[in-house]
Homo-oligomer: 542 residues x 2
């Protein structure tokens, strides 16, 4: 009977496939499904000590406990095991008899050897356009503002165009909101349900669409994991605060990848690429509920062999990082980059070098070349970088002889010792960047303690002072939110004055001035609901 | 028509309630529901520049952008706003006219003033039995083993008995597995669907049950939040690895509580009490997928005004902590305690003092009284505490003159500076416990870097050496798993030898011996699938 049902289903599947392929008309067929109901604990004891076991919840527990002490239970266990008639299945040496061995299918027909269950065997590398073609041309660092995600959208569009059979883009109904909507020029949102005339105007729906959208982060994550594990490629973008919906799925996928890497016959699969955008610092009208950069704190708990975190500060860095991630295998790549208009820092050539190094001194923002710096100003993330640069300018304007080294971090794992993560900097490299004894102010995108968690073993950790989001916020202007969390230019400059020995006392007047400016910004934002244009449109002045 | 439908529904609800209350027969009624469908963006512009807006997805965006520059759009905006006829609604000073003002209901009939929406107004404190009545009597510290959760189950049972109208216990079908099943003596699992004869034997189902079970962590969390916010009390237990399913809901509830605390008219609600059990260290047959102590890393990101974390090491501490949590308000209390058999350390009197202090020196396990210690051995969590104690014994046996101070942490936030969390120890207290310059070995239940994240500002942080789970594991015996993550007695003792200046060279022979013992344990576990009885049944020897 089972064989008959299977045959029937396979014929029905073939009929559906044939019809779809020969007519080209997209329909949502009712795929056949076999429901096999078998009693839980089937063949085991029906009852133990008068309590029902087979076909009941007790069969989920240990059905016979205490067989060593209870001869009646031991007898039941023996009867149960003997009911399989092992003497008919195995020879006198305990080997499976040849007739049964022959029943097993051969090669790829074995369930565990099916290539779709070891998708890396089927995986073909993406055909990739040159990401440099999407570069934003700059007049100089920190002069122009641009939205970070649209060029990535164009890059994804052209990847899609060249890989229409093994690439999909996923998002909880946010590809437009996340400004990746160029993708729709080549493929729409998958939609096979009813549609209306008005959907033709901007709905971007199509039964042939390869963009998976649904306001359900965990459904998308499940689809993407299945897609990758069967040998294909994908890209998932989501709002930062709501990526926590898939925390548990991320954990399990990371565990799975870590174990799969240790199994020699498992072929490499494409990395899971996750763009976290619409970030904490620009939730101008959504407010506190949408402010949560804590996913990274979860990511760093998982195996260093599979986890990667990137915080590209601008368009060109984002393109370079995305190119790298889409070509990589067996990782979970988390990219954090906001979708709004932000200052642009690096031309494409500089961006590539910066992203390959993962961390570097920005020469154009530093004035310590040839000297010992008085201060290291560091940043990771788009908005924190702008404020850190603005703080550097405030300090240089007020203390013209001060030597400041400016460091930006794209690859967050650079901060970890090389013994702990394959991307980690050696102590020698870390020490030369961050010095052994100078104050370091680090402006971070996420919760500040994450930087301490990554860098606590470093020699200069005692001088490392981190600012980041600390769960203070509401419906704020960007600068107001930064001030509340002390990641704004004024707070950073004041922190620096407090930590540079020569300024601790002498800098008091400048501290007063900076604090006054900060108050002016807060009052303006409160009164007008926006930041002062001169702060909002701030540019790198040198 | 609306009024008619409302009236009809209310009458139907009253009929259902009357029937249930007069007959006492539990049924699952079809409650009436009103579905009001209104077009999205109703009354706004139907079309803008030829694109459909009202009743379409565009109404979710800004319907009219750029009104400052576009006079046609400005005109549409004006027409839209004038369509509400403000001149009929407001007087010449812009005040709502008295006839309309009168329409609003008064007092508690105002939606936002409904006490059920400000549940703290309805909240009555639980009637609590004395938790000391459930104490486990001990002969001495570290001699007896017991399962940690059953006495809590009895305590919860008696709380339930005295609060049958405003207390519920929640769990993803795990109250039995988590050994809280005494609760069923007074109230069963809520079950109003079909049931079978065999369910009467151990099914613990009843339409009058007040225990909420469903293998769906997020459904339970939603129920519990609603229950608490309407003025009731609850207790949620769940497997540690799967609490991540509710990460996002935890985040939002923590944000809600933090904001509610800042709103003076909001009355205090009961805390959300979360027992995390079936923990990472005892997943003997579940393995790697069930090993994830990372929820705490998420908890510490949220506002210190609402987050609390407790790691009671034994039965009596768990009872004391649970009593405190069930009486508290406006917090999220996370209690981490395994359900399996573990060594018991403190009698009830000591447990109460230890839990109130949150952190303390265990005199009976220390031999440094009156001296400067050579080493501080610290622990948080049930299993890490046992291994830290066993390491202390190994060290004292091998180096009889060594002075070791043993510290246990129940209230994890004690490690944070008092400026950062209301439970934080002052630097003075921290320094006196952990010294300014002695090596500290800290054996932690969770990911080890969490301790650094909490304590990085402390004076002796540079000498703080933390062990914890670092994502290494499989189907292991408890000691094997500890060895893989270097939280076992041998690794800890070796760490200590490496960090105590007088032993760094002289201790080499003992290090070899300990390493040999560790290898013996590993080999035994590999061969027999269990730990050596002498390790498994280890007791505190002094």
């Amino acid at each position: 009977q089972m064989a008959g049902v299977l045959e029937e289903c396979i014929l029905e599947i073939k009929r559906i496939q044939h019809e779809a392929r020969s007519t080209g008309i997209p329909v949502r067929p009712h795929w056949p499904m076999i429901v096999l109901r078998s009693p839980k604990g089937w063949t085991g004891p029906k009852e133990v000590d008068g309590h029902k076991v087979e076909g009941f919840w007790r069969a989920h527990q240990v059905p016979l406990t205490n067989v060593k002490q209870n001869p009646a239970h031991l007898k039941m266990l023996e009867d149960w095991l003997r009911s399989y008639k092992p003497e008919e299945l195995f020879d006198e040496k305990g080997r499976l008899i040849p007739e049964l061995k022959l029943l097993a299918p051969k090669g790829h027909r074995r369930m565990s050897a099916n290539p779709s269950a070891n998708g890396g065997l089927l995986r073909k590398a993406l055909r990739m356009p040159d990401f440099k073609d999407y570069a934003l041309a700059l007049e100089g660092p920190g002069k122009v503002s641009a939205e970070n995600t649209p060029p990535l959208g164009q890059f994804l569009r052209d990847i899609m165009r060249s890989n229409m059979h093994n690439f999909r883009v996923f998002g909880p109904d946010e590809n437009s909101s996340n400004k990746l909507d160029s993708i729709y020029e080549v493929s729409k949102k998958t939609w096979m349900a009813e549609s209306f005339v008005e959907d033709a105007d901007g709905g971007e729906l199509s039964p042939f669409g390869r963009v998976m959208e649904m306001l359900s982060e965990h459904t998308l994550e499940g689809w993407l994991e299945g897609y990758l594990l069967t040998g294909r490629h994908g890209f998932f973008s989501t709002y930062e605060a709501f990526v926590h919906v898939i925390d548990s799925m991320f954990n399990q996928h990371a565990k799975w990848l870590a174990m799969a890497k240790a199994v020699p016959w498992r072929a490499s699969v494409s990395s899971l690429n996750l763009l976290i955008t619409s970030t904490v610092w620009r939730q101008d009208h959504n407010g506190f509920t949408h402010q949560d950069p804590g996913f990274l704190d979860l990511v760093v708990n998982k195996s260093p062999s599979v986890t990667r975190i990137y915080l590209p500060p601008d368009v060109n860095c984002l393109l370079s990082v995305a190119d790298h991630c889409l070509k990589s295998t067996d990782n979970i790549n988390v990219i954090v980059c906001d979708k709004q208009k932000h200052l642009q820092y690096l031309d494409m050539d500089s961006a590539i070098k910066h992203c390959i190094k993962g961390i570097s001194i920005w020469e154009w923002a530093s004035n310590d070349a040839g000297f010992e710096p008085d201060l290291v100003m560091a940043s990771a993330g788009d908005i924190p970088t702008k404020e850190a640069l603005a703080a550097t300018v405030l300090l240089r304007e007020n203390f013209p002889t001060l030597k400041i080294r400016f460091i930006n971090v794209v690859d967050l794992y650079k901060l970890v010792p090389s013994s702990e993560h394959p991307h980690g900097l050696s102590d020698r490299d870390f020490d030369s960047l961050f010095t052994l004894d100078k104050p370091v102010i680090f402006n971070f995108h996420g919760y500040p303690w994450l930087i301490h968690r990554l860098a606590y073993r470093r020699n200069n950790h005692k001088n490392l002072h981190v600012r980041g989001y600390k769960e203070k916020g509401s419906i704020n202007t960007p600068l107001e939110l930064a001030i509340q969390n002390e990641t704004d230019r004024f707070s950073l400059a004041i922190d620096a004055i407090d930590r540079i020995p020569s300024l601790q006392v002498a800098g008091a007047h400048v501290k007063e001035k900076l604090r006054n400016q900060q108050i002016e910004c807060q009052n303006y934002a409160y009164e007008h609901g926006i930041d002062r244009p001169e702060d909002d449109h701030w540019e790198w002045p040198y």
